[in-house]
Symmetry: C3
Subunit: 167 residues, 3 copies
């Protein structure tokens, strides 16, 4: 590993962070920019599998597009290996939380991603992404009395409605 390799690795991390930020902010055009045209995805051990940028983005829009779908997808522990000047692989540890206000459920989970990246015209893109769950759990939000959403990106413009318990 050389300092120059680290630059490539940092650019790949940035790609992943852009993808995840755009996902949770519902900037789906930005999500699309992260993939090659013929990228493949195999989310949740392949339960949700897609071929092509268009199919991947269409799935994400359909499943996560609602402003009642509040999500946090965080990827950690990047183990990125440069295979050639234009190819790399990456393993990541995912933690995700979904608050689904329409169905009044919370989903929490952890997983490991296995990605492949390619560099096209000087820009790193996701060629394949997919993960297997360490665990996933769900509960009706009504099961916890008094559980209340006090802020959301869309509902409150990102501001807390809690007055006296500052963050």
């Amino acid at each position: 590993m050389t300092p120059e390799d680290l630059v490539e690795i940092e650019l790949i991390k940035r790609l992943k962070y852009k993808y995840l930020r755009c996902l949770d902010q519902k900037l789906f055009e930005g999500v699309g920019e992260c993939f090659t045209e013929h990228a493949t995805a195999a989310y949740s051990g392949g339960v949700y599998s897609f071929e092509g940028r268009q199919a991947i983005v269409a799935f994400l829009v359909e499943s996560m597009g609602s402003e009642k779908f509040l999500s946090s997808h965080r990827c950690h522990h990047p183990e990125i290996d440069l295979v050639s000047d234009t190819e790399a692989t990456g393993t990541w540890a995912l933690e995700d939380v979904v608050i689904e206000e329409t169905f009044d459920i919370t989903i929490r989970g952890a997983a490991f991603y296995e990605d492949r990246y390619v560099k096209l015209d000087g820009v790193w893109l996701i060629a394949h992404t997919g993960y297997l769950r360490s665990y996933e759990e769900i509960h009706p939000r009504g099961s916890i009395e008094g559980l209340t959403v006090t802020a959301s990106w869309w509902g409150t413009n990102g501001k807390s409605s809690l007055g006296g318990t500052p963050q």
Copy 2:
């Protein structure tokens, strides 16, 4: 991006990590060291806005100073851009948990930070920090029967009081 840029970026990440560690360990002098004298903060979409290092730290001491306020503020996905030799911007994804033992509540949330940094006398400092919530939620801890704090930095010197279920 050059290897030398990566050094600056790593130093900015270290600044953020020091800020967050000092915050959760209640080392408020260390928190203050992370800001410029005239730094500004706009937490929670500006609900909690402050001008000047002194005002920011005073707010943090007041809102988070109690040893009954157990917090975990974690920032992920650094997207740091060097604007000049002495200026940079940073986007971060926050996950935070607060267990407030006095009021017997838990607050969980996710957010995106937008920071500005400046390098003064060779040291990177926070010139502006602020975040918007993706979501925030609260619940009375009594709503989950048997929910028990089994360790805390102050209450148990960081040791678990669980005997048989090691971490």
Copy 3:
């Protein structure tokens, strides 16, 4: 800090990520590869203390080996200092979740690690690891009505059994 230092720091991060991934995937041989022969561990403020790679790994196998023990150990905020060409220290912020299906409990916690690393024959290894809890909490899973595990690495091969709420 130099670009060459960053390479060493990245290699130390990779060591920690391998350790954590192997832990949650129950690849205990891989866990063992991360430690020096005479490594020491002081988990949970020293409640769980061990001397030697063999003792550390034996403890981890015993406490986390069950496929009913679903865990996510994530380390953040690396503050890694190179002490010499072959010695380094590291501070990390831990977030961990354990779903213990046998005892039907969930444990969540946060902590700060203080590690020491050494480079032997060109490979960074953990010489000492240990953490203090910011907090730790436990609850019986039955206290949240309808709380259900919908995927696990071992139980469902990492696939979600939720049909209609894609991740």
